[in-house]
């Protein structure tokens, strides 16, 4: 049961990574094919909502407490409403610092709760042998690292000096996040291989 949910969680992360890689391509294709005059910031706004949905879905699968899952669902609904309001009320040519900051705070809180749950639930397995742990570490580092950057982006994005910093910091954490997510996939594969070889050994022994 746990393995199934672990698989589902990683599948969500896999689609999230694919979405990150191809979002530029998808948005450009949509804008080009539909001849829309859409700013890059609108793309960011939509990206934030979709990204949050992917990550919240992963954490909903990874967390065990039903109560916390309900709270996440409620907070997610509030987040989507706030992002929607922000999408329609603020100027389209500005960076969506408010939704991004809320997203970062929420995801960081969920990640911390996930780690707390790992501590309080006694298990003989080491925490870093689980793929979920590495996904959570990736998300935690990414959102902690880019938190201040995204907050300042609403006012300073466009300034050439800030843009340089934005590119450096954002790229660094984006690459770091993807590297750790890749590690999570490797951990998963390793676990699966070892469990397959273990079951083979049992079969051979019997």
């Amino acid at each position: 049961m746990k393995r199934k949910s672990n698989d589902r969680g990683l599948r969500v992360i896999f689609f999230y990574v694919l979405f990150c890689f191809f979002s530029d391509l998808i948005f450009s294709a949509l804008i080009y094919s539909l001849h829309l005059n859409v700013s890059v910031y609108l793309r960011f706004r939509i990206f934030t909502i979709v990204e949050y949905c992917f990550l919240a879905a992963f954490l909903l699968i990874a967390l065990k407490s039903i109560k916390i899952k309900r709270i996440i669902l409620i907070l997610s609904s509030i987040f989507v409403i706030i992002s929607g309001i922000d999408l329609f009320t603020t100027k389209a040519d500005t960076f969506d610092s408010v939704p991004v900051a809320i997203e970062a705070i929420l995801i960081i809180i969920y990640c911390i709760y996930f780690l707390y749950e790992q501590i309080v639930t006694p298990t003989p397995k080491l925490i870093y042998a689980s793929a979920d742990f590495w996904v959570v570490v990736a998300l935690l580092l990414y959102f902690c690292g880019t938190f201040f950057l995204y907050i300042y982006s609403q006012n300073y994005l466009g300034d050439s000096d800030f843009n340089k910093k934005y590119d450096i910091i954002n790229s660094f954490f984006y690459i770091l996040k993807n590297l750790i997510l890749g590690l999570a996939m490797c951990v998963k594969a390793e676990t699966r291989n070892s469990s397959i070889s273990h079951s083979k050994r049992i079969e051979q022994a019997t």
């Binding site: 960081i108 911390i112 780690l115 790992q118 501590i119 006694p122 003989p124 080491l126 925490i127 870093y128 570490v137 935690l140 580092l141 902690c144 690292g145 880019t146 938190f147 201040f148 950057l149 300042y152 300073y156 300034d159 000096d161 800030f162 910093k165 910091i169």
Partner: protein, 278 residues
Amino acid sequence: MNLLQISTDASHVSTVLYFGTLGMLVLAIGLVIFIVFHQRRVIRYQMQLQHMEEEQQKILLNASIRWQEEERQRIAADLHDDAGPLLATARLYLNENLVNQDLSTQLQSIYNAKQIIDDTIQLIRNISHSLMPPTLKNFGLESAVNDLFQKISGSGSINASSRFHDYRHRLRPEQELLVFRVIQELVNNILKHSSASFIHVTQNYSEDKFFIRLHHDGRGITQQDYDRLNKSTLGLGLKNIQSRVKVLHGKIGFEKDLSQTYYKVTLEVPVEQLEVVS
């Protein structure tokens, strides 16, 4: 002036951005490292605990095996030393020469042999009763404990009494036997080591739990002594108590009374409604 203000503002933003990012990153990494090390420590502690539990189980198992062996040896000794010679003597009375003897000698021999066989029957009955007291089987724990205490009081050296406050429902037979054996072992220990002048046992039910409390005024042990003896290779009787309490899924507590005059042993056995036999 304006240019200066913009450059100051930009440097302020850079400082906050770099320090903020660095601070958040350090916090996140610190948190992750703390979680990993904490979990490793918890796992190590759990493994130690498991190891200790396994050791304890091993000691209990050894004690249980030793106790069984001793019990077998005792039964074997009883049968060999008591029943064997008695039956051999009876056989001597009923030997082949009996038919060649006169009638009065024959009758005397048969009478003697009958006496010896009666004694042997009684002896075997005693051995059987020591294995499973018939009072316990037929009338329950209360009667068996009363019976035991009457015999002890009858010796005149110690005053033993019991009072069952709420024993309308009997425990399951195997539970009764285990509880009785624990009481027997405790009483044996008191008689052997404590120089007590009285033993008093009370029984009660509370919140689906069956309680047996045993008081005595001799030298006793506390919970610390009990735990220490259980971990050592000494104290076979106490280990038997521990293994029986474990089978009962119960608890046993040894303490000195608040008045510091009596020692108290409390046996607690969880009782589910299904387990109770009316």
